[in-house]
Subunit: 308 residues, 2 copies
């Protein structure tokens, strides 16, 4: 099976300037000599947790599996370079499934110049598991970290939030080019991507930076999907609740000095919707400013791994 | 859960000179500036396929999960540098299991100077899955490949073969130092590690090199475990059958020019048991020379991934 997949990939994969040795040996060799620092991240996605294979096209699963990794690279302002792909495939129909996954992720790899530097393809009696490790390089500005926000910095985000479960958690485009452009053109103090939820990922920046954060409830960009989900659920949760807590938006949260934020908002890079949604403050914790400007403590909510 | 594990790892992990940014950000940053080429490999291990969690200590599973990756680096004559670790943990007892896995793999990481550069820890209702990606650097001699064997080269192996299922497939030491020492001191034309089976992995070298290989049945080093397994099974399979086909020995197979092989066998690096077990020949395929020197075609056997 694995040799059949390798034969398929050898035909399907374009040559890549970084890839000195690809599939067919015990490991791949990447030319990273001019890269200096190497950024590395891994994400594992499981059927029934991160997607429902019975309901979605495997190509969307493949797309998401690589996209979440590229989003982590974007969060570091890192340029994608390569990825390796490990699969645990159900025995029945595994080969077709593997091809579907690759058909979904290869266009994304091509778009962002990611060399597919090998993988490990297995079959078993369990559900599909996809584990991708992505490598990236850094620009001369270095990595964008979580821990650099300063009191007074504005909180600037890309895109809109909430309701990703209705589909965008599978089909989103990682903010790779946006992160690189913003990091190059503006002074960013800190950044992350929204995987667990806007409020919880913002809280991570605040914690790592030793400060707190105030969110201005009235200006948080709410995705159409968040409104649709609130209406569908009818459980009293508002579109704003979904925007703050749903997660898997894979937008960027940035800490930007005020003067720089004004400049950025006045002239955003092409195609990058930006909104200032609050500021970092001395008081630790997360705070929500209501329409009257009153501050209410806000318990960050989002995706939490449950385990005994 | 994941934050608890990160806190545990931050205390447990020693600082590493290559690791500029570790756990706690969206990705890790490795200083690979002086490394040039980066070797990368991934292996995913699943409960019920690569180990039986109900029967073995999680520390042995953790050890194996990293060791198989280091064996792939060894097969390329690559010096281990870093690893990232993705886990799908059963919900019940997942945190204890995760710690057990790390307690098993960290001594190996320390021994070979591997920076643990982050991971992704998940829980689900399925069985344990461990996916590790390892990065390595190359010596000035470059990578050891599968495809470089030449007709006339001797087949030289480390260690002994067969019966790994009795325990050594969990507890083996990857031949990292041995591969680096041999690659530095001798001219090696090709190499691989034995994961699927001595005969099948040798066949891979022969195929990639465009030649065939003759094995001398009388001199193949047979592990004690292969003899015990043959006796236990009592199904007519001989210790030699097990040595040729069992797999997961994680020994090295090397293609070495004859004069160099003689020099190597006369003065092996300390602690490296070496045996010449045959030679590469023009006629494609795998051949077994019996005690009379007669050549019989041999169908390579070993672990095959089964899938519909």
């Amino acid at each position: 099976m694995e040799s059949e997949l390798i034969a398929y990939l050898r035909k399907r994969l374009p040559p890549h300037p970084l890839l000195k040795l690809g599939a067919g040996d015990d490991a791949a060799v990447l030319d990273m000599a001019r890269q200096g620092d190497v950024v590395v991240t891994v994400d594992m996605l499981m059927d029934g947790v991160d997607f429902e294979l019975a309901r979605v096209d495997p190509r969307r699963v493949g797309h998401k599996s690589l996209a979440v990794n590229l989003s982590d690279l974007a969060a570091m302002a890192s340029r994608p370079a390569a990825a390796v792909i490990a699969l645990a495939l159900p025995r029945r129909g595994g080969m077709e499934l593997a091809k579907g996954l690759y058909e979904g992720l290869l266009p994304l790899a091509e778009r962002y110049g990611v060399a597919i530097a090998g993988g490990d393809t297995n079959s078993w009696d369990g559900p599909l598991v996809v584990s991708i490790t992505a490598l990236g390089s850094l620009t001369p500005r270095g990595p964008l970290r979580r821990g650099g926000a300063r009191v007074g910095d504005w909180i600037v985000v890309t895109g809109a939030f909430g309701g990703s479960i209705l589909g965008s958690h599978l089909d989103f485009q990682p903010r790779v080019e946006e992160a690189l452009a913003l990091h190059e053109q503006f002074e960013l103090h800190a950044g992350t991507d929204v995987s667990d939820g806007l409020s919880i990922d913002l809280a991570h920046i605040a914690e790592e930076s030793g400060c707190g954060a105030v969110l201005d409830a009235a200006v948080i960009p709410i995705a159409d999907a968040a409104r649709r989900l609130a209406a569908l659920r009818g459980d009293g949760s508002t579109p704003l609740d979904h925007a703050l807590s749903d997660g898997e938006d894979f937008e960027l949260i940035l800490a930007v000095p005020p003067a720089e934020a004004l400049r950025m908002l006045a002239k955003p890079p092409p195609g990058v919707p930006l909104t200032a949604i609050g500021r970092f403050v001395e008081q630790p914790g997360l705070w929500l400013a209501d329409q009257d400007g009153d501050l209410l403590p806000f318990e960050p909510r989002g995706y939490q791994h449950e385990m005994d």
